[in-house]
Symmetry: C2
Subunit: 221 residues, 2 copies
């Protein structure tokens, strides 16, 4: 469903840092994929390229056959809103919107009727254990609660691919097991495709593919 | 070295949430203490009360015999800068300062000469594996790199107590083991007192005291 072709991204800060170095990977529809590697190895950078949130220096990404290079900024934004769900490493929740409003936001971008969006939003918050926190603002939530709102928001549109950066980093074992079970259920019962960056071995256990990065290079797939 | 007396903190958002509910704990000088519990159980709230970053509704905190209640805001700020090192759950790095400048900041508050502060800053960055990133701004660092800068900054003044909220949440196993080893070394060789909120079992393994929270209450100590 997705593939990268000779993907490159470097930062120049005096020295040049090759954050993503000639990466070629393939993501099968309906699969669970995990990206692992040391801190600073390029995982978040790779994920933001897959998500069309950042432009590569060279190389391309194809989603359902559509090349990212061929799209201008508006078209890329449209693709993101309809096809991708993103869980950021630091959540990026909208500070002045409640948990429920944050989860409903992607559905407003795809013109889902308000009543349906609200119902789905409440269902998703319940699935991540936050039904009692729907009216809280992000600043009125704990770290792990914010993380779960971000997860619920990514699931809202049932996107073609969910890209998740450390989705369980702030969760205790029990809450995290609930999230892992939820991801597995969505993958097995709804065919949801996942690409997850994680340091958490319990997520890699169920992966169809484990992609290992080191210093910007994919060393094992 | 530190104790809490009937500490209480609640939030009112329609319903009342008792985030810290009648908590009485003691921290021994030179000890390693870990606070565990489910997401939303009140750990970060408790830590911010211990750090004097938030005022309790009722109850008190004593640090080296000094009551927080007796201090006004300026005196409390002074106590924080000289006595406490804080690793925030989301780092709170200063965006327009480099990694090195962020680490040096606490030392400027205690009037450490610039030359000495810079040398200690570089040493600390090296100890967390970031000597090559000293000139990067927070936005030019990976999640785990930002977390390590926050750790280095907390250590800078050799404070009486280091309060750390999920200090290893964004780190891969190898990097995290390095941080755990560093904390152990500081605890055993320099008598550094730690109070750490964590979901990571490898940190609780070495703890002298494990404090378990559930729904704002300390259920086990
Ligand atoms: N400003 C606020 N207003 C209302 N409720 C709040 C506020 N801040 C925190 N809470 C609630 O207080 C409870 C405790 O929050 P806290 O951040 O201390 O949890 P935590 O144990 O650190 O969780 P985590 O492991 O997810 O980081 C949570 O249920 C949260 O929703
Ligand atoms: N804007 C930038 N300018 C310069 N260097 C950058 C920039 N953004 C990231 N880097 C560097 O690129 C490398 C890869 O960063 P990235 O965030 O992708 O790592 P990561 O694998 O997600 O790490 P972590 O597990 O710590 O989150 C890091 O070494 C980082 O210092
Ligand atoms: Mg990252
Ligand atoms: Mg917390």
């Amino acid at each position: 469903i997705m593939e990268t072709i000779n993907l490159n991204k470097a930062f120049s800060l005096g020295e040049t840092i090759y954050a993503v170095n000639n990466v070629n990977i393939q993501i099968m529809a309906g699969s669970m994929n995990v990206i692992v590697g040391p801190s600073g190895s390029g995982k978040s950078t790779l994920l933001s390229l897959l998500g069309g949130l950042d432009r590569p220096m060279s190389g391309d990404i194809l989603l359902q056959g559509q090349s990212y290079r061929e799209l201008n900024e508006d078209q890329l934004a449209l693709l993101r809103r309809h096809k991708l769900g993103y869980v950021f490493q630091f959540f990026n929740l909208i500070p002045h919107l409640t948990a429920l409003e944050n989860v409903m936001l992607p559905m407003q971008f795809t013109n889902t009727p308000n009543k349906i969006a609200k119902q789905r939003g409440l269902e998703l918050l319940e699935r991540v254990g936050l039904e009692k926190r729907s009216h809280h603002l992000p600043l009125q939530l704990s770290g792990g609660e914010q993380q779960r709102v971000a997860i619920a928001r990514a699931l809202a549109n049932r996107p073609a691919i969910i890209l998740a950066d450390e989705p369980t980093g702030n969760l205790d074992t029990k809450t995290r097991d609930g999230i892992v079970a939820l991801f597995q259920e969505l993958n097995q019962q709804e065919g949801q495709t996942f690409v997850m960056v994680t340091h958490d071995p319990s997520l890699s256990k169920f992966a169809d593919q484990v992609i290992t990065m080191r210093d910007g290079v994919v060393v094992y797939q």
